[in-house]
Amino acid sequence: MIASSRSPLIIVVHLSVLLLVALWTLPTAGLLISSLRDKDQLAVSGWWTALSTSSQNLTGRAASPEAQVEKDGKFVISGNLLEGGNAKVSAFGVRPLQPSAFEAGTAADLGDGQMLTVNEDGSYEIVSPTKMEGTRGQRIFYTASVPPRFTLDNYREVLNAAGIGSSFINSLTVAIPSTIIPILVAAFCAYALAWMPFPGRAILIAVIVGLLVVPLQMSLIPLLKLYNGVGAFFGVPAKTYVGIWLAHMGFGLPLAVYLLRNYMAGLPREIMESARVDGASDFDIFVKIILPLSFPALASFSIFQFLWTWNDLLVAMVFLGTGNDELVLTGRLVNLLGSRGGNWEILTASAFITIIVPLIVFFSLQRYLVRGLLSGSVKGG
């Protein structure tokens, strides 16, 4: 490494890493920026233009002739198309096919001697030599450059209307117990496999390594049948939170046991032997020495399990159901993709709410995540 840092190639290295990082972060950046944009702007311009003013073709209507006032023998209707805001009108027209026939500030002939003027700031004036008739105002087509606008409206909307708020709570309900409950169970098992000699230990470890990669798909149908049977037997619904917590525990156990066993087996033997000489039993050793020492491995597993249960779609769809009240965030997002596929303001904000929790966990606990990956890289995900 030392030799190559002096080579002129180092600039190429910097540039290629920069390119790769850009490729990897741009999609997420696009989502985040889009979710904060005004939904009208989001639909007509790319997120990379978010900071520049966008040009939009808009339609407005002048006030109705009832609002006309007589001034110097002429009849005048005036008002403002933009009603505040910082936009600027660049061109306007009176026919849908020629929305920018006239430049801002010039006068357009509407016939019958009527003249329409639209200024850059959006103010307009219709001047007529005779009294104008009718109840509907003149339609005006105009091109306006709208300055960038960022808003939290999209988030407000999805949290209240699209059901994301209740799904967020559902996801928490699924993920937290599914993460905590397996830890103790796995830790005891891992200790037995690491430090207690008994016949068949090697075979058990091999079985657990094998179970690491068993596809979830194998478990779905038999467990669904089992749950239905248990539910019918006890007269309770088959799809409950308890059911999904236990399912997540079962699916997470191989990794938990494997990770923790590897970690515990690496702890120094002397600690345990000196404790044993002092008369401590296996139980004491485990609770008072091993468990506190294994904290890094426990943290690694908890992060894995939390990310996995939070991000899971399949298990939740099968064991919790797809009804409106029990949808977790991932399931809700899939539904929104189907029903609101074109509404990017809803999709981007929902997606960002879905990924924000794992991202916080990721950035704050990355150290443990990496350590866990390195010690358990046999796991199949």
Binding site: V17, L184, V185, T330, L359, G381
Partner: protein, 335 residues
């Protein structure tokens, strides 16, 4: 809110129940076979008995859960694969015969093999390249974190992110998907990428590669750092250039790790489901095995026989890797 309280309550209850189980059984064992305060022969006899029983007490809850949630389902799935849609009537191999004559299944197998060829290879390749490059620059760790980040994003979230990248507007209107915007900027015509058969598979694969490269990078980066410096220094003295050092000295030394990364991603690819469901739901010839299985399980009217037989096919594809993993793990333990 109420359910969250219920969840926390159950969680505390579950943890307490676990603790009570372990304390309780341990206390029971020590009371029935006391070893303290007894004379020599009996104490050692009791000690032997408790030492034989205690590991199983420690492991019982975990083994019980593993048996119910993973071991039993494997056998039950194999049984169901030979039965009809309700699981009552034995039908021999007819589910498998149906499967291999079914166009959608063959499409799925073909697509799965495409995924297997492309995704592990490219993820590992990018991971290796990024790991090697970021080791040489001062902001390498920041770059690594950013590339590792998609790992935390759910497949569904990633699907939305990429659907936005692939978004299509008809020709002439302004593109809001960045891919089409780039294509148009270079004078091309915008495409609805998801609907181009065969090639759309690759656009889906990009999503998984995007997620998994970080994983490959983290593992391979650690492996690269573990390479003894002497070997690299010797090569430098012998006049090897950067590429030669990388491909002839470093890569051969981390073959084992590359294989682990490769197989781990391979298993993930075999089970890929969320991405396809969210992006195309198997339309435009993008069906894969896991999604097809889900279809037959629920939307196909709940045909458990066919669903289980597709699951068995996935399992059969995983078995070689499983055996390889077990062998490696056993070898490591003997060392």
């Amino acid at each position: 809110m109420q359910q969250l309280l219920f969840a926390i309550f159950t969680m505390v209850g579950g943890v307490l129940a676990c603790a009570a189980y372990f304390f309780g059984t341990n206390w029971l064992l020590d009371t029935i076979f006391p070893s303290k305060g007894l004379t020599g022969a009996q104490a050692s006899r009791n000690l032997r008995i408790t030492n034989a029983i205690r590991p199983w007490l420690f492991m019982a809850p975990a083994l019980f859960a593993l048996a119910i949630y993973l071991v039993y389902p494997v056998f039950e799935s194999v049984r169901l694969a030979f039965h009809d849609r309700s699981g009552q009537q034995f039908v021999g191999f007819s589910n498998f015969v149906w499967m291999f004559n079914d166009g959608e299944f063959r499409q799925s197998i073909f697509n799965n093999f495409l995924w297997l060829l492309v995704v592990p290879a490219l993820s590992t390749f990018f991971g290796l390249v990024i790991a090697a490059l970021t080791d040489r620059i001062w902001w390498g760790n920041i770059a690594k974190t950013l590339i590792f980040m998609p790992m935390a994003i759910s497949f569904v979230g990633a699907a939305v992110i990429w659907k936005f990248v692939y978004d299509y507007r008809s020709e002439g209107s302004e593109q809001i998907g960045i891919l089409n915007a780039v294509v148009v900027a270079f004078g091309g015509a915008p495409e609805a990428w998801m609907t181009i058969p065969f090639w759309n598979n690759f656009f889906l694969m990009v999503i998984l590669i995007w997620i998994q490269t970080g994983f490959a990078m983290v593992i391979l980066s650690a492996a690269l750092r573990g390479i003894p410096e002497e070997t690299v220094e010797a090569a430098v003295i012998d006049g090897a250039n950067g590429f030669q050092i990388f491909f002839k000295i470093m890569v051969p030394q981390i073959w084992g790790t590359i294989a682990v990364v490769w197989t781990t991603i391979t298993i993930l690819v075999l089970k890929v489901f969320d991405i396809v469901l969210a992006m195309t739901n198997g339309q435009w010839q993008t069906q894969v095995l896991a999604n097809l299985m889900f279809d037959w399980m629920f939307r196909g009217g709940g045909d458990f026989g066919r669903g289980a037989s597709i699951a068995v096919v996935i399992m059969i594809l995983v078995i070689p890797i499983m055996i390889w993993n077990i062998r490696n793990a056993t070898k490591e333990m003997e060392r």
